[in-house]
Point group: C2
């Protein structure tokens, strides 16, 4: 079975470049007992993958190996199975990353998840509004930041896959929400399409000033997808008893030095603030609750979930680079042509 | 009524110097309705007073005014009262700071607290093991950091008024405890007198290395009295789900620039850490529980509470300077001679 895959061949310095990746063709064996082959239909492009391209000695997730395919979520169809409980034709979610066809070894790899074949549920939603990005938004608000009824909520990277849902979940549950992103067009999108009460482009001035103008009474909850100057501004704007969900620090992923730290962390003492970090894997037990609630909101049209789609395995590197550059809105995905693995088809 | 008081006359740059303070004599009027006079017996010297000597525009507590007496806790005896419920001879705790005699105006000032006249309870314990420093240690562990049965606990400034009790409370409730301070003698004291399982002087090397040697399996709870390099080391040593009580940042109080921030805050994301700041005033509702428990421990000899005593109102500035320089162990106090306000008596 021929397949193509995208490998990391150099650790990016600053913003990733096409030369940091290579597209390679491989020949996959037939599965042995405990293995299955999945033809991927959709690949997820995620900011946290950028971080693992660095070789950091900071006790965080291990770095991706050079010359190997970066791990990541994908959904597709089983095309051969030697694993009890998985049959040809099953749709599954796997973590094998940027591959057209993946050989999953259940003894070695993270277990695949069989997905409901619900005709009303596009399969890529399991990478999106029913998947890890959305679960991140959901538990970040409810479990990590312990959102309260009258909270004023601020979300950074609010046009992104996680932030866009955090804005909508906070709105649909009755909160005042402020969002920020990297362009005026995105700010308009956050306000007009996602329903935020206020939004700004952080390129329009110091974040602390822009946030102060959007949230004149201050904020109670900050969903931090960015770190750096945004976190510092939020610490300044948070009211007594405020909470921060530390989800990511995308502003630092492309940086060479250590992550820029807020100079005003002492505000946490004087205002009794709580900062809590998390990885979505720590909250997987909440998946059932989350999906039940999210299906309701999706069915009622209460949340929207825009996708930035790149086509074909050749779209992985450009899509990933565009997402990190802030050129996408919503969930960044690669759509694969599942029928002919040697011809990339542009779905335009 | 003649009294003497210590005023702040210059904002300290770096470590405070004697010239930043002045001793002045004042003539106090007889109390009007709603006012009382208290002859202080003990004054509290606290690290947080240093912070308020800076004029910081960071949303924290307002700075002390120049030319005025810094606010702070004191205990003493009512010598004249026009306040219903307070009689001459009552022992009270007040917040009027470094004065021999204080005129308390209940319409303007923070309310005084009448103290139990228990012959077994030295009155200065209400500034110490039954007072705000100890309540800080208690709620910092139990409420702020939500201490759990098997936590490995690390306390910085562990020979200080707050840290010393945090060490002992964590030990008496069955935890493994590591303490640090600024000298080998203090480290010995923390281990030998306070009962910590391990202790080190942060002057002996990088804190991260010293902490790693004292806590080879890592830590679960960090009681942060220091900030800076200590917080950074703790973030590195904390295990998944670990918690930090952000109590103070004494390492920054004498600094001119913004507080040194940890460069590894992202560890909070990857390890799911919680950092929670607090001021003891936010937890005053816990005073009753805390005192009941602490009286038990004190009566059973399970906690000790060393005091660093400076004598007379002239001892305020030298005592405050010595405490901030790390030259004291335990609670720093000024003892006033309540009988003759114009002659300082050395109790040596």
């Amino acid at each position: 079975m021929r397949s193509r895959e995208v490998r990391l061949i150099a650790r990016p310095e600053g913003a990733p470049r096409p030369a940091d990746f290579e597209l390679a063709e491989v020949d996959l064996p037939n599965p042995k007992p405990g293995q299955l082959l999945v033809r991927n239909e959709w690949l997820s492009l995620d900011p946290h993958q950028r971080r693992r391209m660095l070789d950091l000695a900071d006790g965080s997730m291990p770095p991706f190996a050079l010359g190997a395919v970066p791990a990541g979520r994908a959904v597709g169809e089983v095309i051969a199975s030697e694993v009890p409980g998985f049959a040809v034709g099953d749709r599954i979610l796997n973590h094998a990353g940027w591959r057209e066809v993946a050989l999953i070894d259940t003894g070695r790899d993270r277990a695949p998840e069989r997905l409901d074949s619900n005709p009303g549920t596009p399969i890529q939603w399991y990478l999106g509004p029913l998947g890890a990005s959305a679960l991140t938004a959901y538990v970040g608000l409810f479990d990590v930041a312990e959102m309260r009824p009258d909270d004023v909520v601020y979300v950074s990277a609010a046009a992104g896959a996680v932030g866009g849902l955090a804005v909508q979940i906070a709105k649909v549950t009755g909160h005042t929400v402020i969002g920020s992103a990297g362009s005026t067009a995105k700010a308009d999108f956050i306000r007009d399409e996602l329903g935020a009460d206020a939004a700004f482009s952080y390129r329009d001035g110091p974040v602390a000033e822009l946030l102060g103008r959007s949230a004149p009474v201050g904020i109670d909850l900050y969903f931090d997808n960015v770190g750096g100057e945004h976190l510092e501004a939020a610490l300044g704007a948070l009211r007594t008893g405020g909470r921060v969900a530390l989800c990511g620090a995308i502003s630092n992923y492309n940086a060479d030095g250590p992550a820029g730290a807020p100079s005003n962390l002492f505000a946490a003492v004087t205002k009794g603030l709580t900062l809590r970090g998390f990885m979505v894997a720590m909250y997987e037990k909440r998946t059932e609750d989350f999906r039940r609630q999210m299906r309701e909101w999706l069915a009622a049209g209460k949340v929207v979930y825009p996708e930035a789609i790149f086509d074909g395995i050749e779209g992985v590197a450009p899509g990933f680079i565009a997402m990190l550059a802030g050129d996408t809105v919503g969930k960044a995905l690669v759509r694969l042509d599942g029928r002919d693995l040697r011809t990339s088809t542009n779905y335009g």
